[in-house]
């Protein structure tokens, strides 16, 4: 009881109350805490999808026999290709693919049936729009597979498939693409909001000149700073819960790991972000510069983190660089805890990295802040 009343009467508590009031009065800050995270999560989760679907396909059938129609219907019977009807001649077909109106063009030659009946090989031509290298590769794979299957059917070959591959996808059985992106975007949201909010609240007093007034009070520099950090930390924890709720409700993320561990490691990352934010605030003078300079930092932090494209596929130099990116380690943690059922012992490496970043950045930024005050 005595401890509690001591705490309530302390200078630190009064300062924290002041900070909370200041934040609650700032409509823009509240807006920044709620609107961008929600929009980022929804847009990233809904719009980014590597599932190849609805590739437009068209056929020129110079043969017009039962065999050629069967081949075309084999190409139609799936949700990967979206059949756009026949074209009359090869010229128009290739023109359509060239201009990007069609993703795939197939030409069946006039001697298609004759060659099949004579047990010869009939060649069909397939054009794929290669503008998108990734999609083109996947489309090529599907076309080859469909034709292969049709070949087996044509030959009446009792294909027993002597080696059958049974593929199981761990952690994400249905290969839902949002399950890959959303855990990364939770980290991205904490980064963008955390850096901006903490930088803005610190720089504001510097910019407006009220920092001098605070310094004239008996409060020590560390008290001023702690009083600033605690409310920001609580607000960002709120953002984390908001993001997790959206992840759970909208995207049905499984959250297989221990949620308490997830919150604990996330708070570690929140401290990293606060550290970066305060450091940026000590580097510049005005509020105007802070939003610019935080944009400077955000681009590499996000792009090297693996939130969008996997870090494994980066060239060696950028892969090495990505280890210096705290978000990369946090995303490793959040993806593991959301999709896999693994405990903190399996995550000691990224956890250690986050502890290192948090200690380094917080001590650096606090010492710079104190020096600037003194």
């Amino acid at each position: 009881m005595k401890l509690l009343s001591n705490l309530l009467n302390s200078r630190l508590f009064a300062l924290i109350l002041k900070e909370i009031r200041q934040i609650l009065r700032n409509k823009q800050l509240i807006f920044l805490l709620l609107f961008p995270p929600t929009m980022q999560l929804l847009l990233f989760g809904l719009a980014l999808s590597p599932d190849v679907k609805n590739l437009t396909l068209s056929v020129v059938d110079y043969n017009q026999t039962r065999e050629s129609w069967e081949l075309v219907s084999a190409l139609k019977e799936n949700d990967i290709f979206n059949f756009k009807g026949y074209q009359t001649d090869a010229e128009t077909l290739s023109q359509q693919v060239r201009q990007g109106n069609l993703a795939i063009g197939v030409i069946i030659p006039p001697d298609f049936q004759r060659k099949i009946n004579q047990d010869k090989t009939a060649e069909i031509q397939v054009f794929i729009d290669g503008i998108d290298a990734n999609t083109a590769g996947i489309a090529q794979g599907y076309i080859t597979q469909i034709i292969q299957q049709y070949n087996i059917k044509l030959a009446n070959f009792k294909d027993k498939q002597l080696i059958q591959t049974e593929v199981i996808f761990l952690y994400n059985q249905g290969l839902t693409s949002s399950w890959f992106f959303v855990p990364g975007v939770i980290g991205l949201v904490l980064t963008l909001t955390g850096i901006l909010i903490s930088a803005l609240t610190v720089i504001k007093e510097k910019d407006v000149g009220t920092l001098e007034q605070l310094l004239m009070t008996p409060a020590a520099a560390w008290e001023i700073l702690i009083a600033k950090i605690i409310p920001i930390f609580v607000l960002l924890l709120g953002d984390l819960l908001l993001a997790s709720t959206i992840g759970k409700v909208v995207f049905h993320l499984p959250f297989r790991g221990n949620f308490a561990v997830f919150v604990f490691l996330s708070s570690l990352y929140i401290f990293v972000c606060i550290g970066i934010g305060i450091l940026l605030a000590t580097l510049v003078k005005t509020q105007q510069q802070i939003s610019l300079i935080s944009f400077f930092f955000n681009v590499p932090i996000i792009q090297l983190s693996g939130a969008i494209a996997p870090t494994e596929s980066m060239p060696p130099f950028f892969k090495a660089l990505s280890f210096l990116d705290p978000l990369r380690h946090y995303i490793e943690i959040s993806r593991s805890l959301i999709l896999k059922d693994i405990g903190i012992e399996g995550l000691w490496r990224p956890t250690l990295a986050l502890v290192g970043f948090a200690v380094l950045l917080l001590s650096l930024s606090i010492s710079r802040f104190r020096r600037q005050l003194g």
């Binding site: 599932d51 069909i124 794979g141 080859t144 761990l170 105007q288 494994e312 060239p315």
Partner: protein, 363 residues
């Protein structure tokens, strides 16, 4: 006209004096270009695969050799929790009696477990293992029938499937949208924040003249950015122009005009610089990044959301730039794009001037 030009040169002088903004305008786009051009690769090349061979015959070993011979997989020693710890992307288990079953015509099942976290590459791994197995079977089975239909597949424009050829023309659409609009928004809101806008009200400059002068200055800066970014990218990533250069020039100019007017609009609307930067970076960057078809094609976006792509100028510009740098089909497929972009610029400029007029009277 003279007043517009005077306003424009004043803006340019002001811009030049602000070191941080100049750096933002030129260094950050280049940094973004390098990161996207070099580091964004969607397809993994070296996939860690571990194999557990319960059969251990020369037959099963030749199957394993076949898998690693694709140069897509890297052998890693089998460990029970390798997938959990993220050390391997896939494990493959060859059952006992693999060879014996094959000889006596009994199918045997190879168990493949793939880490499904990275959805795109999980699918690539699945397809690749299936295709390799098929290929292996064709080589060892004797009575397999001859292929009656042989597809002759040609991937146009990018037969080697170089990813930079896809990413680099797309990144122009993101960079040349985000930075010009952000700079214009900051410049606009600064006058409001510093209160210098009142001096403009007091002068005999009309709001339209003022707007056009400011817009023109940032349009010129944007052209400078475009020249720097596109020239350097062409040299570094070897993505040359394969089409009429006029298409690139007209398309880029209209696109930059729409980006600047979008930025001016946000500057007029927001109260301070934080708001302007956040507005342009969140709304502008996210839409240009996610709804433009930059990373994954627009046809992958689920239905109601995909309609929004039609409102994103970067979506049109990326179609145009991919045509200029990769496709090379001339005006026929992109003629409508400059018209749309001009319309977008006029729309935002019109809205800006309306807002400015109202502000002048109410203040």
């Amino acid at each position: 006209m003279k007043r517009i030009l005077a306003q424009c040169s004043k803006e340019l002088a002001q811009f030049q004096r602000d070191r941080l903004t100049v750096a933002l305008a030129f260094i950050l786009p280049l940094g973004m270009l390098l990161i996207y051009g070099f580091a964004i690769r969607l397809e993994i090349k070296n996939i860690n695969l571990s194999v557990r061979d319960f059969d251990n015959t020369s037959f099963s070993r030749s199957y394993i050799d076949r898998l690693y011979a694709t140069n897509q997989f890297v052998p890693v020693r089998y460990q029970p929790d390798g997938l959990d710890r993220g050390e391997v992307k896939a494990t493959l288990v060859i059952p006992p009696k693999f060879y014996k079953n094959f000889q006596s015509d009994i199918p045997s099942q190879v168990q493949v477990t793939v880490d499904g976290t990275d959805v795109n590459n999980a699918r690539v791994i699945q397809n690749s293992i299936k295709a390799t197995t098929q290929f292996f079977l064709q080589n060892v089975q004797k009575d397999i029938p001859q292929q009656k239909i042989q597809p002759d597949i040609r991937i146009w424009f990018n037969p080697g499937r170089k990813e930079s050829l896809y990413i680099v023309p797309g990144v122009y659409g993101v960079i040349l949208w985000v930075f010009p609009s952000m700079l214009a928004a900051i410049a606009m809101v600064r006058e409001k924040q510093d209160g210098t806008i009142v001096q403009v009200y007091a002068s005999d400059l009309t709001s339209v003249e003022w707007l056009l002068g400011k817009g023109l200055a940032y349009f010129l800066i944007a052209i400078g950015e475009a020249i720097v970014v596109i020239t350097l990218a062409t040299i570094i990533f070897q993505v040359p122009i394969v089409d009429n250069i006029l298409i690139l020039i007209i398309g880029t100019l209209t696109f930059l005009a729409s980006a600047v007017s979008f930025g001016l609009f946000f500057g007029v609307r927001s109260k301070n610089q934080t708001g302007a930067v956040q507005g342009t970076s969140i709304l502008g960057f996210l839409t240009a990044f996610l709804l433009s078809g930059f990373i994954y094609p627009v046809s992958n976006i689920p239905y109601p959301l995909s309609l929004l792509s039609n409102l994103v100028p970067a979506h049109y510009y990326i179609i145009l730039s991919r045509d200029v740098f990769v496709r090379g089909t001339g005006w026929t497929s992109v003629w409508y794009i400059p018209f749309i972009l001009i319309f977008v610029s006029c729309f935002f400029l019109f809205v800006c001037s309306r807002i400015l007029k109202n502000m002048q009277f109410s203040d």
